[in-house]
Every structure is written in structure tokens, then in C-alpha cells.
């Protein structure tokens, strides 16, 4: 009798553990938006090294990263902002910002607002544009902005390659 009770207790614990695991799995993939690591590791895109940790800002503390510029993103429904620094083999340094918006419309709103006449349209995600020192594209709820700190001859091509590497991870 005692053995049956112990087995029953054990079964209950196992059931509870399975249930907890299932809820956790749902949290990671279904109920909540999955966390995407959009940042290629060093060497994953030819010539590019990731030179710093990825920093993540929620909407409520986006001010810490872009104080004064945060309002625009918050009003467009930004959920999180991730940023990391990269360095190209030629020494070119760049920063990648990935804004996870609440929906695709939010990403489009920000991208449209920041457009300049001389930007060149590029095939990236749902829409993309490039300039001599920057590439911006959106894909679903994601808005990606890559900015280089020098206008070197290899910058446009290198930035575009990095952008494709990021897009493939979104």
C-alpha cells in the first residue's frame, strides 16, 4: 500500500515537471515572441568580427541608449533594441542596431521617417536602403540599422554583406 502511494506521488511530480517544461517551451516559442539573436558571430560574415557584447534595451530604458531619440521609436511601438559593435578586416568600424517593433507597421513607420532622397534601394528583407556609410532594412517587425564610422571605399559592399548576414538570422 505504502509502495503504491509513493509511486503515485512520484508520478504526480513527474507530471508537474512535464507541465512546467511544456509551459516554458511555449513561453520560448509560442505564447511570447521568440527572442532572436540577429547578430552574426565573428567570422560568420566574411571579414567581420563582432567586437563587443550585445546590449539590449527595453522600451522603458531605451533612453539610456538614445536619449532624445527614443520617443520616436517608443511611439512606433518598439519592444526591445539590441546593439553591438563590429569591425571589418580593413579596420572599418560599425554599429548594428536591431529594433524589435510590435509589428511590421512600426518598423515601416520608422524606416519611412528616416529616408533620404539619395538612398539607394537594396534587396533586403521587406525593404532596404543603403548609403555610403549606412544600411537600413526592415523585415517583419524588425528594423535593422547598420552605421559605419568612416566612408571607406569598401564600406558599402562590406556593410551590405553584414546586412545580409543579419537578415538571414531574422
Amino acid at each position: 500500500m505504502k509502495l503504491v502511494a509513493t509511486k503515485w506521488k512520484l508520478a504526480k511530480w513527474m507530471l508537474a515537471a512535464v507541465a512546467i517544461a511544456a509551459v516554458a517551451a511555449m513561453g520560448a516559442t509560442g505564447c511570447k515572441k521568440a527572442k532572436v539573436n540577429a547578430f552574426p558571430d565573428s567570422g560568420a560574415v566574411a571579414g567581420w568580427q563582432k567586437t563587443g557584447e550585445t546590449r539590449v534595451f527595453e522600451a522603458k530604458n531605451l533612453y539610456e541608449y538614445i536619449d532624445g531619440g527614443a520617443e520616436e521609436y517608443i511611439s512606433a511601438g518598439v519592444v526591445t533594441t539590441s546593439t553591438a559593435d563590429y569591425k571589418y578586416q580593413s579596420g572599418l568600424e560599425a554599429t548594428v542596431d536591431v529594433y524589435t517593433m510590435g509589428n511590421a507597421a512600426g518598423a515601416q513607420k520608422i524606416m519611412d521617417h528616416g529616408q533620404t532622397k539619395d538612398a539607394k534601394s537594396v534587396q533586403l528583407g521587406d525593404a532596404g536602403s543603403a548609403l555610403a556609410q549606412s544600411v537600413v532594412f526592415r523585415k517583419g517587425p524588425y528594423l535593422v540599422r547598420i552605421v559605419a564610422y568612416e566612408a571607406t571605399p569598401d564600406a558599402p559592399q562590406a556593410l551590405l554583406a553584414l546586412a545580409h548576414g543579419i537578415e538571414s538570422k531574422l
Binding site: Y63, I66, D67, G68, E93, L131, S134, V147, Y149, A151
Partner: protein
């Protein structure tokens, strides 16, 4: 740009205007509120500051700083000139601005030039504190964090912390960085000229948002009157007594972040005591560039820099935005 003869002439004129009524208690020779009742603002420019690279030539930046300070003080010996600006034996803070990241932050060449001249004027290295909001804002300028008092110190408010008790003036109810309240006797502002998504323009007065714990609480209504209110709080008004504004490079649209497609090179320093007059001058430069680039005025863009006029009004009296009361020297 004026030639050397014109420059000397301007400097001499400045000397005539010098008075002993410097409201901020700096050198008697300053023209902040001199005999002519004008605020002096010096715009020093060197069109060849960058040479062929993206970073300015360090030697040329030092020369430009010397030219600006000589014009401002009407003293051509740099040691003597700097002694008129900074009091002896005091701790001097240099409030930089690294918010916009690596592409648009106070230039290291300028910070180094100011540090060099301060030390030559007798300020001990440990009595110089280069500071900003946090380590990142300093590192993007190319600075290294250092709290060792035997050297020039460099750290952010993330190290010092903030005062527990807020201070209030009008809409500003803020907790200040202890670097401002406790560590520094006098602060020289080293802002970088930028367009600003909310305030219209950010330069001398707006740079003070980086000395409080929650600057975003001061963003309502295009930061007006909050910029003026913040600058009226006695600890700011009394300690932030000189500005060496970095207009070496700037963003005329899309600020305060870095937008390389909107970057431009004024190749200038804007120097003075009157932060309102300095911001008024900076605003004219930004508007001129925006017109040249074919983008709307800040007013038309929905972010007029009205806080500058507010800072000059009877309630604030931080300085003047009246061109007739600004003695602008372009050297």
C-alpha cells in the same frame, strides 16, 4: 574667415569692450556682460581642420583652441589666458557629450587640447575631471576611465552616483550627478553641436541633461522650458561657467544620434560664457546648414528650439539671444 590682421583688430576691439562686471565671476577681462552690455561669443574656424582624414588634425585643433581663447580673453599668451578662465587650485570638470556614440561625440583632440592647456595654466592633472553620463559615453570619445587622482581623471555618473535629494526650479525636479555637486568646483562644457529630435538643437544648455539622473523627464514640449529651468538651478548656473563648444563636426538632421548621411563639418569651436548666446549662435549655424541642404527649418519640422528664448526671458535671465546684445567674433 578673417585674416590675421582682422583677427587682431577684433581682439583689440574686444579688449576695449572688456569690463569688470562679469556676472559669473570669471576673469575681470571677460566680456560676458561687459561695458557694452554684450555677451561675447567667439566662433573660431579652420576649414582645413580635417585634412584628408575623418578625424581632425590634433595640432590644428590645439591651434584653433588657442585662437578661440586668445580672441575671447584678448590675451595671446595661452597660460595667462587660461589663468583668466580657471581659478587657481580648483577642480575643473570637463563635461563632454558622448550620447550620440562614436560618430558624433566630443572630439578627443579637443578634450586633449583643453587638458593640455589647463595643465600648462597650473591645474594639477588630478584636478581635471573629464565626465559624462557613464563609461560608455566617455569611451566612445576615445577616453579611458581613470579614477586615479595622480592623473587626469575620467569617469561617469555611473561611478559617482547621484544625489539623493532632488533640486527643483520650475519644471525641472532633478537629482544631480555627484560629479557636479561634489567633485567639481567649476565646469567647462564641451558639448557637440547636433540637431535634436525634440529640442531642435542640442549644444551648451542642453548638454546639462547629461548631468541629471533621468533626463527624459525633461523632454515634454520640445524641452521647453525644461532646458532653461534646469540651467537655472543654482548648482548649474554657478558651476558651469565656460563653454568650449565642439562644432568640428555635426549632424544637421536626425540627431541626437549619428547619421552619417547628415553629417557636416563646420570645423569650428564656439566659445564663451553666455550659454544662451552660444546656443543662439549654434542654432543659426544649424538652420543655415538645413536651408543649404534643403531640409525644413526646425520650426517647420515641428521642433523649434524655443527653449533658447525662454532661457533669455525675464524669469530665467541666463543670457541673451538678442543678436544686438551678442558680440560675435569670427576668427
Amino acid at each position: 574667415m578673417k585674416n590675421r590682421r582682422d583677427f587682431l583688430k577684433s581682439a583689440a576691439t574686444g579688449a576695449v569692450l572688456l569690463g569688470s562686471q562679469s556676472k559669473l565671476g570669471l576673469a575681470n577681462m571677460m566680456d560676458q556682460h561687459g561695458a557694452a552690455g554684450k555677451s561675447k561669443v567667439v566662433v573660431a574656424k579652420d576649414g582645413a581642420l580635417h585634412g584628408t582624414g575623418t578625424q581632425p588634425d590634433e595640432r590644428k585643433v590645439l591651434d584653433l583652441l588657442d585662437r578661440a581663447i586668445a580672441a575671447y580673453t584678448a590675451i595671446h599668451n595661452q597660460v595667462d589666458a587660461w589663468k583668466k578662465i580657471v581659478p587657481a587650485g580648483k577642480v575643473i570638470g570637463l563635461k563632454t557629450n558622448g550620447l550620440g556614440g562614436k560618430g558624433i561625440c566630443t572630439h578627443l583632440a579637443l578634450i586633449n587640447a583643453v587638458c593640455e592647456r589647463l595643465q600648462q595654466a597650473g591645474v594639477k592633472p588630478g584636478n581635471i575631471i573629464i565626465w559624462d553620463r557613464n563609461a560608455r559615453d566617455l569611451q566612445v570619445c576615445g577616453l579611458t576611465i581613470n579614477t586615479d587622482p595622480s592623473k587626469v581623471r575620467c569617469y561617469g555618473s555611473d561611478v559617482s552616483g547621484f544625489e539623493e535629494q532632488p533640486m527643483k526650479w520650475g519644471t525641472a525636479n532633478v537629482k544631480f550627478s555627484k560629479i557636479l555637486t561634489r567633485d567639481c568646483d567649476m565646469v567647462i562644457g564641451l558639448p557637440i553641436l547636433k540637431d535634436h529630435e525634440l529640442a531642435g538643437v542640442t549644444f551648451a544648455m542642453k548638454n546639462m541633461y547629461g548631468v541629471v539622473q533621468h533626463p527624459w523627464e525633461l523632454h515634454a514640449a520640445n524641452c521647453n522650458p525644461s532646458v532653461a529651468d534646469l540651467n537655472c538651478i543654482p548648482v548649474v548656473r554657478e558651476k558651469v561657467r565656460f563653454t568650449i563648444g565642439d562644432a568640428i563636426s555635426s549632424v544637421y538632421e536626425g540627431g541626437p544620434g549619428f547619421h552619417p548621411e547628415r553629417l557636416w563639418y563646420p570645423n569650428s569651436l564656439i566659445v564663451g560664457e553666455d550659454r544662451v548666446a552660444i546656443d543662439h549662435t549654434a542654432l543659426q549655424m544649424i538652420e543655415h546648414k538645413r536651408a543649404e541642404a534643403g531640409v525644413p527649418t526646425l520650426e517647420a519640422a515641428g521642433r523649434p528650439a524655443h527653449y533658447i528664448a525662454t532661457a533669455a526671458d525675464a524669469a530665467h535671465q541666463l543670457g541673451t539671444n538678442d543678436p544686438a546684445r551678442i558680440h560675435l567674433m569670427e576668427v
